[in-house]
Symmetry: C2
DNA sequence: CTGAAAGCGCTAACAT
DNA sequence: ATGTTAGCGCTTTCAG
């Protein structure tokens, strides 16, 4: 496990010159550089990031805090982050944050603060003022994905508008009895995504003068089995069945579709279902969805983090970054046979 | 950003004593320890892992190398790893390894060697002899999940036996025309999982004296859309349609089921499908599967890594770890109406 | 039980 | 353009 001093000795230069030659900081003659580089190569030398970080203060490592790994949206975001980070020469240290308050404190106060990371990307997690203060006091950039938080730059779609958009789509097809099956409103971790989508649905329904009371809303676990269970429960009775459903997420929507098909309900002839996300399984299930690109969100978050790292290592006023991708309804839903 | 010296000053002890009090190494009187600990608490002191690692050589960080993040199996394994690692007080640095050789080299030789990690867990990736030699020469434990590799401890199911088991299950139900839809055999990253499962299928078919030629095998992308596309292509023509399918993975199996249902094929009356994995969506799609528990595999890999870290920091002969969980067929498939 | 001192491997002034 | 020097923040002998 050779050290810089070994390389320097072999190349017959000082440690300082070897360091400059390898890192590219400072003047080194072409010839010495070559000598050092090839010396390093023959010895299989790689810098100790610990030693380097200790003196420079930069770790070339970014912490990603995320509530789930194996849910489609989060997996996509994570992949996007990973790809962009590697391309920038950064490592990614992963912290899955559960809803458990104790564990959360531990991650925030202990793991993230150990000088391990240069910046933090929080996905789908509404950081507390205390957590943000902590990171801010360490002059560590924080980027949020999936919602808005005071004091930090965040990247998100407008969930209210998105839900309103898909609801409008169903209304324009002539549906009148439209249900919303969304996520549990008390899910404490996220950026109120579920309640905002519910609000968007209700906003569109109210504007159209259509009913959207509690009997037309149901909470489900944000997953295919969650949507499936809700679908079975709701669609079994033909008399109370809605003609269309706005699902809180594509995973829920797909679960509903599977349940509907199992009950012998024709889609879209007897039931229209729309979701939000742009899940790659949407075409396979004939799902109409409002497409966003979570992988791209991950990439953008990395870019944002890089900007903050480079341009404002000192704290300056935070910016709100609206998610600039265009959202468009993908897939089509024919008009209902019975309104 | 207080340092140990600040804590020491506040507690009116030396840096050495403060270090001992906080880390628990060495003798410190109860009273001094309390003084130091409370001083640290009031200052919000957290050790610099860089400085600490630099002198101890241990990073309390484990590198996880994985080919995909957003595929069910890999996501589950990753979650298991993450949970267990956090519980052990370790961080997890994530490296997604693509099939691209250049990128792979870079990750292996650069990222993993920078003294950032104490050990490596490779999931679904067949490390090359060179890569293993590299890690070995650094005395870094490596654990593999999902296959076997000479020279390192690995955790895996017996893919041949698993595929034979589900195939036998179909044979015992009276099926004679059984197809296998598996992954691309040339997928260079993995531990030959696909070819081993194909071998297991053929072994069982041969033993039963049933045909299993090339016309009964088809490669598909290991995903739901991959299985869906293969299913549509294969099941469209009733004359060539098999009565049962052994899918290479549950995701493929679910894709096939969705395709079959879309084609109006009754499952299991007209077609039986079995998979391997124990996907949590299996019940929802009425899929019979051979259950393993990838999340548990992740946990076990962490335990294994911990053992190696603690018990043999020096290199000693590697062990093969067969995956000890019992595999059982879950779900049921009724007998075929037409053999 | 506690303190002084050395040094992990590197980078960044400061000299030359 | 290169070398010398002084730490980065911590752990760990070695004394006491």
């Amino acid at each position: 496990m050779s050290a810089l001093s070994d390389v320097a000795r072999l190349a017959e230069v000082s440690k300082a010159t070897a360091s400059r030659a390898l890192s590219g900081n400072g003047y080194v003659s072409e010839e010495t550089r070559n000598r050092v580089v090839s010396a390093a190569a023959t010895m299989g030398y790689v810098v100790s990031s610990n030693a380097s970080s200790l003196v420079t203060g930069s770790t070339k490592n970014i912490g990603v805090v995320i509530p789930h790994i194996n849910r489609w949206y989060f997996g996509e975001v994570l992949e996007g982050i990973e790809t962009s980070l590697i391309a920038e020469g950064y490592d990614l240290t992963l912290y899955r944050l559960s809803a458990d308050a104790t564990e959360r404190r531990r991650v925030a106060e202990y793991f993230l603060v150990r000088k391990r990371v240069d910046a933090v990307i929080a996905v789908g997690i509404e950081l507390t003022a205390h957590e943000i203060g902590l990171l801010h006091s360490l002059a560590k950039p924080i980027i949020g994905i999936g919602g808005q938080v005071d004091g930090i730059a965040t990247l998100s779609i407008d969930d209210v508008a998105a839900a309103a958009l898909v609801t409008d789509h169903l209304i324009s097809l002539g549906h009148a009895r439209i249900m919303h099956i969304g996520g549990f409103l008390e899910d404490e971790m996220d950026f109120r995504v579920h309640s905002q989508r519910l609000a968007g649905y209700r906003q569109a329904m109210n504007l159209a003068g259509l009913p959207c009371g509690d009997e037309l809303f149901r909470e489900a676990e944000v997953s295919m089995p969650g949507g499936y269970a809700a679908g079975l429960a709701i669609l079994a009775d033909p008399r109370t069945r809605p003609s269309a459903i706005v699902a809180g997420s594509d995973e829920v929507a797909i679960g509903i579709i599977v349940a509907a098909r199992q009950l012998g309900i024709q889609i879209p002839a007897q039931l229209s279902v729309v979701g939000i996300d742009g899940h790659d399984l949407a075409p396979m299930f004939g799902l109409t969805t409002l497409a966003q690109n979570p992988k791209m969100q991950g990439t953008m978050a990395v870019n944002l983090a890089m900007d903050e790292l480079v341009e404002r290592p000192d704290r300056s006023p935070p910016t709100w970054h609206a998610y600039p991708m265009s959202l468009e309804v993908r897939g089509s839903t024919t008009a209902p046979s019975a309104g």
